[in-house]
């Protein structure tokens, strides 16, 4: 093997490790900034505390965890059925040409900057909720609607791929025994694509949990555990972005600690998603 070969191999190996190195750096820096906070304030009063008032030394992040949870749940309730239905239509029922045009079109949704979604939420959805349903408009519902739309491309695209991966024989078998297309889809195709669809849901969840700018604009950012869908909420991501610029000392560490919590949640989601994807491959 000549030297050029050797060189290429070494360079590519090194390059291949970039993403691992970046990941390690990110974890190192975020945890290093956040860790002292846990030592000082304690994990329990941080995760379990319901009062966020950094000026008074109260750092309860539970309202934000609850906020992220409810907003994400709402986004999934809206986005998953809609996205799955859309994927089903494109993969099982739509004429080929329609699917060939619509799928890339829907994937373009993913390219629309999140601030644009947020702004449309702010100018269209928030006033609509305020005038029709009451409350200030900035709410769990507004955030869930905006995020529900934002996760559509992920949901549609990945579940479409999962549905397309189901062998054609399955469908033909059902039709041969006298089922109609809908029955074939519900009784065979959907179950066969189950793990892929689950992975799509989990990845969408990751996107919803991690979204920041759009949520800040429509959520209202109040530090309460919401009692209704019309109440304002603050998510973990907004908590960081809202207060980072102003924070100093312990407050700043608390925001990095919020980042750590977010990181752990996203990490757990990723691991779950990966296990589903792996099951599908096997």
């Amino acid at each position: 093997m000549n030297r050029k070969e050797k060189f290429a191999e070494v360079v590519l190996t090194v390059v291949g490790l970039t993403s691992v190195a970046v990941l390690a750096l990110i974890i190192f820096f975020i945890f290093r900034e956040g860790a002292p906070f846990f030592a000082e304030v304690g994990l329990g009063s941080f995760i379990g505390g319901t009062k966020w008032s950094p000026g008074k030394g109260q750092f309860g992040v539970l309202p934000m965890i609850a906020g992220s949870f409810f907003v994400t749940l709402g986004a999934l309730v809206i986005g998953v059925p809609l996205g799955l239905g859309c994927a089903l239509y494109l993969s099982e029922f739509a004429p080929k040409r329609t699917a060939a045009i619509l799928k890339p079109l829907i994937e373009i949704l993913a390219g629309i900057p999140s601030v644009v979604f947020g702004f449309i939420g702010l100018t269209v959805i928030v006033p609509l909720i305020r005038d029709r349903l009451g409350g200030p408009g900035f709410s769990v519902l507004a955030s869930a609607l905006v995020l529900g739309i934002m996760i559509l491309p992920t949901m549609v695209s990945i579940s479409y791929d999962a549905l397309r991966a189901v062998p054609q024989v399955y469908r033909e078998g059902m039709l041969a025994v006298g089922a109609n297309r809908w029955q074939a889809v519900t009784s065979v195709v959907l179950p066969a694509a189950r793990s892929g669809i689950l992975a799509a849901g989990i990845l969408s969840m990751g996107r919803a949990v991690g979204e920041t700018m759009a949520v800040i604009m429509v959520a209202g950012n109040a530090t309460i555990i919401p009692g209704s869908v019309l109440d304002p909420v603050r998510t973990l991501t907004s908590n960081i972005a809202l207060e980072m610029g102003y924070a100093a000392g312990l407050h700043r560490q608390a925001l990095f600690a919020t980042g750590v919590v977010l990181f752990v949640i996203i990490g757990a989601l990723n691991i779950v998603a990966r296990s589903f994807v792996r099951n599908r491959v096997r």
Binding site: L23, L105, L122
Partner: protein, 297 residues
Amino acid sequence: MAPSSGTDGAYGPGALKRPKRSPGRFGMALVQGCAVLTVAVLVFIIGYVMVKGARVMTPGFLLGSPEKMGREGGIFPSIVGTVSLTLASVIIAAPLGIGTAVFLTEYTQEGLFSRIVRFGTESLAGIPSIIFGLFGFLFFVIRLGMGWSILSGSLTLAAMMLPTIVRTSEEALRSVPDVYKETAYALGASRWQTVASVVLPTAMPGIVTGVILAMGRAVGETAAVIFTAGSSLRLPKSIFDPVRTLPVHFYILAREGISIENAYGTAAVLLSAVLLVDFAAYYILHRISKKRPVARR
């Protein structure tokens, strides 16, 4: 939209069993409704922004400098900032991402090492942009002393787009038929020669598509950029200067209510850029999949 009953025949003998048809009809109408709704939302968003922004999108707006915090004047510095930030991040991320993909597909077999690399890439893909922003701020802006600059911003964005480039390049590389490689090896080519002269050129359109798609995401990124590239309105002179990219400018204009009109104009420019980039990517992808149906499946 007409129901897709026209394709019934092609799919299967729909006339075989009549009694069970009604739930099928309902279900189909439901999923079709989902598709229509999704597309309607898309069209609404794009239409809404474009219609409201079109009036402002004049040459003077595109090429002028912002005045009075952006209340008046144009967005030229932000356009320059967005373009340079995006290009810089592609220049950093593309070689790394493509290199990683080549490494994964051609230089290693599935094993612990490749699993670690893949784990790193996939984990990176799941990290929220705000975390990238925090990291970029701590590491590039403060620790390495680059300040708020195109450099800090593009390094952060490069880290964000790395997973997309790796994934799409890997797919493109894997879709190169084995015969090509075997032929090259049979002719006595070494591994690097095979990669450089056969595999990469064949996979190039797919790779380019992936890079363009990643670029489209980078153009619209806000949270990570605002922490690392700053929000200065001045025209950047070098990569060490801070910039206010289009999404950040839009966010500030709209959020602070400085000028809702100019905000829509900025959003329309931004959206046009993203759509243009996306269409370019799909056009390239479409052309190759037509030329080489072997690609996948």
